[in-house]
Symmetry: C2
Amino acid sequence: MKDVATRAGVGLKTVSRVVNGEPGVTAETERRVREAIAALGFRRNDSARVLRKGRTSSVGLVLEDLADPFYAPLSRAVEEVARHHGALLINGSSAEDPERERELALALCARRVDGLVVIPAGADHRYLEPELAAGVATVFVDRPPGLISADTVLSDHAGGAREGVAHLIAHGHRRIGFVGDQPHIHTATERLRGYRAAMDAAALPVHDGWISLGPTAPERVRGEVRRMLSGPSPVTALFAGNNRVTATAVRVLSERGLSTAVALVGFDDLELADLLSPAVTVIAQDPARLGRTAAELLFQRLDGSAAAPRRVELPTRLIPRGSGELPPASD
Amino acid sequence: MKDVATRAGVGLKTVSRVVNGEPGVTAETERRVREAIAALGFRRNDSARVLRKGRTSSVGLVLEDLADPFYAPLSRAVEEVARHHGALLINGSSAEDPERERELALALCARRVDGLVVIPAGADHRYLEPELAAGVATVFVDRPPGLISADTVLSDHAGGAREGVAHLIAHGHRRIGFVGDQPHIHTATERLRGYRAAMDAAALPVHDGWISLGPTAPERVRGEVRRMLSGPSPVTALFAGNNRVTATAVRVLSERGLSTAVALVGFDDLELADLLSPAVTVIAQDPARLGRTAAELLFQRLDGSAAAPRRVELPTRLIPRGSGELPPASD
DNA sequence: CTGAAAGCGCTTACAG
DNA sequence: CTGAAAGCGCTTACAG
């Protein structure tokens, strides 16, 4: 910038004015400055700008896996809101590892992002306290924060699962299996809670063997689904705890030729779910809306909102397509 | 940092040493510094660090849409490689708008990302010349850069499409439709080139009505597919130019009850494609490998490689699943 | 092992 | 309309 000023024969501040489009520069002066910028290939260094201004116009997003079809649209929605506020989005995947989540979040804070959207992998977020105290706006999405209080945007996981299971019960099922994600993940236990609530409400017993929480790796899910479908009192319907579980369950049922014999409702919608036979009934969340809502809360904070931490719960939606309306196989 | 130094009764440089884990500090001194850091809630400001060091340890990725199932894994792969090099990833979606691509790329450069991975929306990348001259490593993926020369990683679009169409021809088809993306998009025209090459090689005529390039919005694709399937000489097979077109084509065929009467091969794999009936035959790219390869080239540049711009072409893979092996409906 | 000075490239506050 | 000085929070190069 100094070189530009020298070459244009003006002061440093004048170059700054031109670069930032501030008023108060003669057309002629501006022309000379622009010429010098072009000749020297000058590119403003935002790091220096940030250092003075305090704001970076960037926000961070820590999620589980950017490539997951549930999180990708969420991330995109955050990006879009950020864009409208003139901010860039830096995102990182925690791979469901609390330590990695922490490293990422702190690295983003060290870059002085103005705000942070976090989909927690861990259960203790006290490591963020100094950052919060320093004014980094923070919003949690999809899962609540642990041991600190902050804005949170969640889907109604328990309510959605309950509705899905009640739907199966309404279609005559009494033995319903639940295959979900690992028990330390909030959404997994909430959905299980919904399952239990629906079974309870219908006064149906729940066998231990009908419930399985754990990694959503296909091998494990495969084994659990097979197990639930065999033995003395096999389930006649399955509730799949998330999109990965649903995909594997559909595969197992289809391979075994059971796809029209075992009812299935999945949490989270799937691409092409409507084209399978039977089409897959799901409890859909709206990932883009989750992201948008979280980002909007974030920018409200950045605009100075000092309200108490808010908790927003978004409804889920039952989409009946066929697999969830199958009657139980006769015993 | 100054406050920390004062409180710990040491010099500024000593605090810097502790924060960066540099050697040459007594255990006792270090303890005092750490205590002061904790008491004051000190958080290092990386902006200042960047300003001095010149490197930000961050790379930028400009893509079309972060939520697209093709780009999400590509982005994730770039992130993973960046992580291994200690860098964060900032990504932005151009929404297929050249102006937005330019704004994003330049904004990333102003943040002084060390390198840039670009999936071009535009056809003229001369706006990046000053950045390249200033040493910003840049790699293009999925589509080549326009009017500048830089490292590029592409799938073999023409070869893949040619193989897919030849596959349909080998199964007896002579009237094959091609529905692809907009003609200014490199991958669209390359794939069309592959289609023509396969038809030519089999000495088959190509009617204008069998080819349609344009936006991949479902409404348009729907109309074009319907048109190709009706009229005096309807096509007996379709080649879908990308994942969005394939999804819509599958929908149309299935709604019209033609899914076992019209053969279909799609470019790009789809989640659950193997579970549809018939399962969908595709020409698969490996988006994660594209991202990984691009990121690796990028970090080679950052490590000082000054070789001439390289062009890497990755093979595609035909995955026969059923829809592409259907025989032509008898005329 | 430790620290004072200079400087990275901008912006802010002020003065002409 | 324009510019010189000070400072954002670090690191570099040097000296003790």
